[in-house]
């Protein structure tokens, strides 16, 4: 399977070049019109054939497994497992993919970004296959995220339109956010159990703490709901219809949105036994399928109608997993297959119509069957399947759905009713999209330029439409396969024969009533656009999302403005406040004694120096004249130098004297030309600043007093004092430390000086030179 995935990636990378060169050759060298869609569709066809050939193997219960090391130490491997549901999805992805690639080759023939389109499409296809066959959590996550990214790029394909960009952003944020939840969920399972793959999880017998189990479940359900657009995250899907139609057909109905459902199915073997899992899925799925169908049926835009019906079916699939009965899991596989076929067809048909008539409004469309016979045929086939007419796959799917509902232990009536309403509404949508457009009365559109579409656009939906019948008729032949699908959804293995015809049963009656109801609804709803229901359930979350973004910007702006307000004095205040809290709270009041001694043996010189410093400090603060302040600053420096003299540090004193002088000179050079600008701060500012200043000052004083408690001769001191002359030939220990024992410090120090000098020269001369 790695080979298939690699091929996909390589093709994705090469696609833009291929498209470029085909376009080039068409014009210049050979006069042979080879559409890139035809060439590229061979790839998914080949993949499809491969997967198709695996059916007997998988049906017999074998599960091929490959694993390639990635980050072995973290149990992250590229391990792939092709079980029933994986194969079903792979078949869908490559099969529908082949049609889409072919279709897009004509549909977007003249688009400048066709190359990029194929790149993203193949990336997506690969990612989707990866999702279907990955066994390792993190490999799965890799491909899952890749579907989000490629979907983002495809939704925003018409990137110049604000709406496209916004829809793409919406989809990315919702699915990306869900991806993060999924990531957290995987990590949670991994760090608590060491499990890193679905196959291990499905046979895991250990116990997880309730908290872990519950949080993992919530995280996964967020991942599932966002990806598969379940309530309340459903709103991004209708908006994603901003993408070109082939994209909508592929990603947003047939494949990607089913990734969430797929995840639910993958997790079901373990989580089915976890409390609330099934119930939650049923509630979410049930709500979504009903409300989406109600919202969808009144739509007038073809793509919207289909988008909502997709939502509804996704809800149904989630419900089926949640029911977790043998019937419902069997129904799951069949509904997936049937839905993929008819929904992809209907989307492609919608695209064909749009391409030809330039509108997707069902209230305007009608009577196209003469003009577009092939498109009409495809549309009708799909609509009949969706409606659930025998012998289409859709009929079979509906039978199983009803069967699982009637067989379900409790709330049977409610379930049957729910499915009945949903199915009827979906049937009505089928009639609106697949029948009404072609046979309804001719509405006020000009069909002068309408024409049947190019074969590349017509053939894929026709094939898919026919496959809907094939799947229905050859039901019994698929028994083993669908059993392998349902077996991969649960821990138990049961086999069950599939038949198209069950005889005259209650369920058949239900199916028939459904069709009747659908027709009734279809005729009742003639034209309607947005309904209050839709307002509440689509526009509200969309608006909420919008205001989330808006609030995010506002909060971000406000917070940033608060902290980073540009005022240096505020920065310094906060910085010192942080120091006060951090360091102040670390002062060892409780453990260490303050070594405060009353100054008894203090000479008069020391008192004078102390007084000089204090007076100088007061002058620095009080003086209005800069020169005085600078001079006072100098006095502080000199006084410190004198302290160095008193306390046995002649080298320090010497250096301090010269440096202080130099600093004052520099000040004079640099500052004395500056104009006088005396601003007297108000009392409150003074008080606030003074309290910050005094707090820092006390921290410094206290730190010294705490730290000097235990004076001891350090071994460094002893070493330097004894070795200085003997080994380093110097009597001045401080100097020997500087040029020998710790010469590296001095090397760094002179580099600092050199760079500082360089910087000063640059500051003074850089702009001068420019003017010359």
């Amino acid at each position: 399977m790695l080979i298939i995935l690699s091929i996909g990636i390589v093709v994705a990378i090469l696609a833009p070049f291929l498209v470029g060169s085909l376009r080039y050759s068409k014009n210049e060298i050979i006069n042979f019109n080879l559409n890139p869609g035809i060439v590229l569709s061979l790839i998914p066809v080949g993949m499809f054939i491969f997967f198709f050939s695996q059916i007997p193997l998988i049906s017999s219960g074998t599960i091929p497994f490959e694993s390639y090391p990635w980050i072995e130490s973290l149990s992250i491997n590229l391990s792939f497992r092709l079980d029933g549901i994986g194969l079903l999805f792979s078949l869908m992805i490559t099969g529908i993919g082949a049609g889409i690639v072919l279709y897009a080759g004509n549909y977007l023939n003249t688009h400048e970004d066709l190359g990029k389109f194929y790149c993203y499409l193949f990336l997506f296809m690969t990612a989707m296959i990866g999702v279907s066959v990955s066994d390792n959590f993190f490999a799965f996550f890799l491909f899952w995220e890749l579907t989000s990214i490629s979907s983002y790029l495809l939704i925003g394909f018409n990137h110049k339109e604000d709406k496209s960009r916004y829809s793409a952003l919406q989809a990315l944020l919702v699915t990306g956010g869900g991806g993060l939840a999924l990531f957290a969920g995987f990590l949670l399972l991994y760090t608590t159990t060491g499990i890193s793959s679905f196959s291990e999880l499905s046979i895991y017998n250990g116990t997880l703490s309730n908290a872990v189990e519950l949080s993992a479940m919530i995280l996964f359900i967020i991942g599932i709901s966002t990806k598969s657009a379940q309530m309340p995250f459903h709103f991004w899907l209708p908006a994603a219809m901003a993408a070109p139609t082939p994209v909508s057909a592929y990603l947003h109905s047939a494949t990607m949105v089913k990734a969430g459902v797929f995840l639910a199915a993958r997790l079901n073997p373990y989580f089915a036994s976890v409390e609330y899992w099934s119930e939650t899925l049923m509630i979410i799925g049930g709500t979504t399928m009903l409300i989406a169908a109600l919202m969808g049926v009144t739509q007038t835009d073809l793509k919207r109608l289909l988008a909502y019906s997709t939502l509804s079916v996704l809800g149904m699939l989630i419900t089926l997993i949640g029911m977790n009965s043998y019937e419902s899991l069997t129904a799951f596989g069949i509904v997936v297959a049937a839905h993929t076929l008819y929904k992809a067809t209907l989307f492609l048909v919608a695209g064909s119509v749009d391409h030809s008539v330039h509108t997707r409004d069902v209230t305007q469309l009608g009577a196209l069957s003469r003009i577009m016979p092939f498109t009409t045929t495809a549309g009708a086939l799909a609509a009949l399947s969706m409606l659930g007419v025998i012998p289409f796959a859709g009929f079979l799917a509906k039978e199983f759905v009803y069967e699982s509902a009637t067989q379900f232990g409790y709330n049977t009536v409610l379930l049957v009713f729910l499915f009945f309403v949903t199915n009827s509404l979906l049937g009505a949508i089928a009639l609106r999209t697949g029948i009404g457009v072609f046979w309804g009365k001719k509405n006020n559109i000009s069909t002068e330029h309408a024409h049947e579409s190019h074969w590349q656009i017509v053939v894929p939906p026709l094939v898919f439409g026919f496959l809907g019948i094939v799947l229905g008729i050859f039901t019994s032949g698929t028994t083993a396969f669908f059993n392998s699908v349902s077996n991969s959804l649960s821990r138990s293995t049961l086999l069950r024969e599939l038949h198209l015809w069950h005889g005259f049963t209650l369920i058949l009656l239900l199916s028939i009533i459904t069709i009747v109801a659908s027709y009734f609804i279809y005729t009742t709803i003639s034209k309607k656009g947005t309904t209050p229901l839709e307002l509440k359930f689509r526009l509200l979350p969309t608006a909420l999302f919008g205001s989330f973004i808006e609030i995010l910007f506002k909060v971000a702006g406000a917070v940033t403005k608060f902290f980073q307000n540009g005022k240096l004095r505020w920065y310094i205040s906060i910085t010192f406040l942080f120091a006060i809290i951090l360091i102040g709270s670390s002062l060892p009041f409780s453990t260490n004694a303050l070594t405060f001694t009353f100054p008894i043996h203090v000479t008069i010189y020391e008192w004078m120096l102390t007084a000089a410093i204090i007076v100088a400090l007061v002058i620095v603060i009080q003086s209005n004249s800069r020169l005085t302040a600078i001079a006072a600053m100098g006095i502080v420096g000199y006084a410190i130098a004198l302290f160095f003299v008193l306390y046995s540090a002649p080298d320090l004193a010497l250096t301090q004297f010269t440096i202080e002088t130099l600093t004052v000179v520099l000040f004079m050079f640099a500052i004395y030309k500056l104009p006088k600008n005396v601003t007297v701060p108000d009392r409150n500012t003074k008080l606030r600043d003074a309290s910050i200043a005094l707090s820092i000052g006390s921290i410094v004083t206290l730190s010294i007093l705490f730290a000097t408690g235990s004076p001891s001769v350090s071994e460094l001191e002893v070493f330097y004092n004894t070795r200085s002359l003997v080994e380093a030939y110097g009597r001045n220990v401080v100097n020997v430390i500087i040029v020998d024992f710790r010469a590296l410090d001095t090397l760094g120090e002179i580099i600092v000086l050199a760079v500082a000098a360089l910087g000063i020269v640059a500051l003074l001369q850089f702009s001068k030179g420019e003017q010359k």
Binding site: P650, L654, T658, Y729, N732, V739, L747, L753
Partner: protein, 137 residues
């Protein structure tokens, strides 16, 4: 500052100061002093000259640019640290001559290092002061 007295004084005192700075450098290993303070004192020679004659004259008096003094100082300091590395020893390990040299006493790489510091300090002080002087003119 075209005071004649200043000029004369500076000329007289300069030689003395320069000598003093070398003295400080040489005795640094045994008494307070060293390359850093020595370099600073040496730079006052040229700062005084700048004050009395102007920065262009001071530059001429210096003969080399302050910047090249910085480079010389840095290079000297770094080079003094390398020989030990070639001998397979640690970086900056001191290497001493066996014989004592008059005035300096023991001569070794730490002294060379200090010499580097001396030149560098001279160079940076002058380049800062002279460029400030130039800027304000």
């Amino acid at each position: 500052m075209n005071s004649l007295i200043l000029k004369t004084t500076v000329r007289f005192i300069n030689k003395l100061l320069l000598l003093f700075s070398v003295f400080l450098l040489l005795r640094g290993h045994n008494e307070p002093g060293g390359g850093f303070v020595g370099g600073l004192v040496a730079s006052t020679v040229f700062i005084l000259y700048t004050l009395s004659e102007g920065y262009k004259e001071a530059l001429a008096y210096l003969k080399v640019s302050p910047f090249s003094l910085i480079i010389v100082g840095l290079t000297t300091a770094i080079l003094s640290a390398l020989p030990s590395l070639f001998l397979g020893d640690a970086f900056m390990k001191a290497i001493w001559l066996e014989t004592r040299i008059p005035i300096i006493g023991k001569f070794g790489t730490p002294f060379v290092f200090d010499l580097g510091v001396y030149f560098l300090v001279l160079g940076i002080t002058l380049s800062i002061v002279l460029s400030l002087r130039k800027d304000s003119e």
